[in-house]
Symmetry: C2
Subunit: 289 residues, 2 copies
């Protein structure tokens, strides 16, 4: 049931992304933007659409920030994969942008995908109240920037440059930026659009984001590269501290399960209406890619 | 008189940039953001402050988008300078970010400077009316993205990859994106904030942006590298079409002068109030860096 909802959301986001990209000029950078934003699970976009639905927001509006956050997420992956960063050849089973085109195209496509994210949330069709659009843009900037996602990246880089592996609290802080910030923004977006209380969704998303990262670390150890669509075993190969290296495989799985339970409980105020998001949380630790 | 105004504006922007950066976490990426955004002529920020003044907008508000556009401009320079892009070692007479730190730091600092630009224009202190903040964010995204600045970059890259040098109309289109789009946004910002007609400022900025790029091409031929603060003669060395290669040095100078006259005339509706922006236009073609 949840996976069907996720597929439906992914299709709607893919369609909207295609529409907004259709008007772009015929240059390789625009092709690379389309390529980099065409796939993925669309979990972040799903969180936007579902939290919007829970707050009575029309999907024709919510599709704008849902597509916007996926554009920002796509930007972060394109830049992450760059030779000077993680130097990855594959993403979602396809050549990364700098492999398919070249490095300058990947830098610029990532740059423009970030910009596009802001263009989409600030679009008048996203919400009739400009205060909501301005708030979505402001909070997205805070989530993506040097106190959010980029901070997580920066802490990750700093960790790789030292010989002392990170401890649990440090790796938790790193994750809260690197993957947590956009996940949190996504879950909160619906409450922002519907004028509801963001607090239950904030708590939900904090637990979910951490569970998501732990599941990623587990996949890096246990995952099948064909299913995951990218190289696995990279972290252990680099002697990098992960939730698995710190908690052990069983400990990491238990921790992820506990976090998912907490995420589900955080949705109590929504009662039955929160069921899809509860299933999303369970999905995050059961996924194979 | 104008140059004093520019210096005053630059000092105010530097101060505000410092303040917004003060709260950033102590990581190299944040240091690199400060470094990359600490200098420059601040012409774009000046255009914001001056167009805002002409529309009766308080400088305490206008400083937000003025600093925001300088953050976006700084991001574009950091990424432009990357080894895979222009591979420049010097910017404003100082080592470029990837030379002073490393390439991953430059990628991330540029990314976060772009994000910061949106964070600043969407900040509630920028304007009490959220419709203005949402409009500033939307128009900034359009100016910076794949139909604006990044398109200009993409066209520039495409031109370097072919043996056929660009013609005048192509190079004009390239410039309209690469440098024109942010200059136009800057000049229009004050009218947007003050609820005035943007049309005269749009026309002014289009002429100014083109004159600015022609002046840049002239500096690449005639400039003193110490004054310019970066390598010169690069375009001719690469056999790249520029306004100078297409119009000749004298022709380029005449064209720039004509454009500045047209920019000044575009400000007729403002009468005496437009005098500072007229001087700014004259400055753009007389500058030595």
């Amino acid at each position: 049931m949840f996976e069907e909802g996720l597929r439906t959301a992914a299709a709607a986001i893919r369609q909207h992304m295609k529409q907004v990209m259709d008007g772009l000029p015929a240059v390789p950078v625009a092709e690379a933007m389309r390529y980099a934003s065409a796939g993925g699970k669309r979990l972040r976009g799903y969180l936007v659409l579902e939290s919007a639905r829970m707050h009575g927001v029309d999907e024709a509006q919510a599709i704008w920030p849902a597509t916007g956050i996926e554009a920002v997420h796509a930007y972060s992956l394109v830049h992450d994969d760059l030779p000077s960063m993680d130097d990855d050849d594959l993403r979602r089973g396809q050549p990364t942008v700098h492999r398919r085109w070249d490095e300058p195209t990947a830098v610029l496509a990532g740059d423009a995908l970030q910009t596009l994210g802001f263009e989409l949330v600030a679009n008048p069709q996203c919400h009739p109240d400009p205060a909501v659009r301005a708030e979505l843009a402001l909070t997205l900037a805070r989530a993506a920037g040097a106190r959010g996602m980029v901070l997580g990246q920066a802490l990750d880089m700093a960790a790789e440059a030292t010989d002392t592996p990170l401890g649990l609290s440090e790796i938790t802080a790193l994750q809260a930026g690197k993957t947590g910030a956009l996940i949190r923004w996504s879950a909160e977006a619906g409450a922002r659009m519907g004028g509801g209380d963001v607090a239950p969704l904030t708590l939900y998303a904090e637990k979910l984001g951490l569970a998501f990262q732990i599941a990623d670390d587990i996949l890096d150890v246990e995952g099948d590269p064909d299913a995951v669509g990218k190289a696995v075993g990279k972290d252990a190969g680099r002697g990098k501290a992960t939730f698995v290296s710190l908690l052990g495989l069983d400990g990491a799985k238990k921790r992820a399960t506990l976090l998912v339970d907490e995420a589900c409980t955080a949705l109590d105020p929504y009662g039955e209406e929160g069921e899809n998001l509860r299933q999303a949380a369970r999905f995050v630790i059961s996924r194979r890619n």
